[in-house]
Symmetry: C2
Subunit: 223 residues, 2 copies
């Protein structure tokens, strides 16, 4: 692995675990056992590292978020499960770059380009969540007015965006699987009350999948 790439990987790791603000270029170099000068040979500075990390993030998440807009998820059975997987993937990609969310205001303040990109991603999130909600609501009998739907999507977008912050604040933990599955559960159950008759079945589906997912995880760890 080239030093340049190792710098990116190490920076990402440190930013996520120690916080972007408290991680200095010296810390990164020390952890990698290279000299600060070497780091500065590959990158102009912290700014460039963050910018490149964000570009990686934008490419990855951007792709995932545009997928459901073109091809809606299957409308037959197992739809809840499909959506579960999808949201899991989205949150997983976000989790890999969670330092952005932990220090959002500061980063967006310093890097104009990142701010624009982040706002684009936010709109994509909205669009993806809108598509999901609409597909789910179309099948049900409920009359969710357009205005209500927009409110719901807004709400889900906010939850999706600040879920990691909330979890960290509430539980001090940094466990990927549990945090993400809980996020998915939280997001999907937000839709439930709009589903009318199918509401209870939907809740049941969500909770059984949630249980199974967490069992799978712990089961896997035991191997």
């Amino acid at each position: 692995m080239k030093t340049r790439d190792r710098i990116l990987v190490t920076s990402l790791e440190l930013f996520n675990t120690e916080g972007e603000a408290t991680t200095t270029t010296l810390d990164i170099a020390n952890v990698m056992d290279i000299s600060p000068g070497n780091l500065y040979y590959h990158f102009k500075g912290k700014e460039q590292i963050i910018t490149e990390l964000f570009e990686q993030y934008e490419t990855a998440l951007g792709g995932t978020l545009t997928a459901p807009l073109e091809q809606p998820l299957s409308e037959s059975r197992g739809q809840v499960e499909d959506n579960w997987y999808y949201l899991y993937v989205v949150l997983e990609e976000m989790f890999q770059y969670r330092f952005l969310y932990y220090n959002l205001d500061n980063i967006l303040q310093r890097y104009e380009g990142v701010r624009k990109g982040f706002q684009r991603l936010l709109q994509l999130k909205r669009a993806a969540l809108y598509a999901i909600c609409q597909t789910l609501l179309e099948q049900s009998v409920i009359s969710a007015r357009e205005q209500q739907l927009v409110g719901l999507v807004d709400n889900m977008t906010l939850t999706l965006t600040f879920w990691f912050n909330y979890e960290k604040l509430l539980h001090d933990r940094d466990q990927q699987q549990v945090t993400i599955h809980q996020g998915v559960l939280q997001l999907l159950t937000m839709i439930a009350p709009y589903l009318g008759d199918e509401q209870l079945a939907f809740y049941r589906d969500c909770e059984s999948i949630y249980k199974r997912m967490l069992d799978d995880e712990t089961g896997r760890e035991h191997c």
Copy 2:
């Protein structure tokens, strides 16, 4: 006004508008036209300023949040409006110290005491929102299971906590009234789908109050 108090006021102002991370003790002293040495005579440093500002905040918001736990809001007519006012006050107090929310992770990482206090406040928020939801739901016919209620309150707590972050990210704006009223609307409409028959009336109430509030604001400005 004593210099010591002026330091607190000026710091708060700068933290809120320029960001806590980018505001230095030197900035504060410069804006106030006093010397850095003078500032350090009154406060050991930035840490102490932030700690004291947080104490102010905790006292103020803590009081507001415990109020509805002891005395539930009137159960007769105008309940939506009462809740509106209440949430407005809560958000207003939060807004005054919004720098905490913009830089949350960083601040809680640096100041252990603030973290504990902030988590206490979060639990108070949950409790207050829980009380509000319960009073509202009690009167309606809907059968919101306890589990659903907890999910809803969780959701509202998250929205309440990160509303300013969301608004800033989405609109780049920093306007108190509009931001707060929209936050209240967002919070209250989250309850609506659980209200069964009264759902539509509730929506209508919310929106009419929202419109009136904003009209009042702009009207007042014209004077």
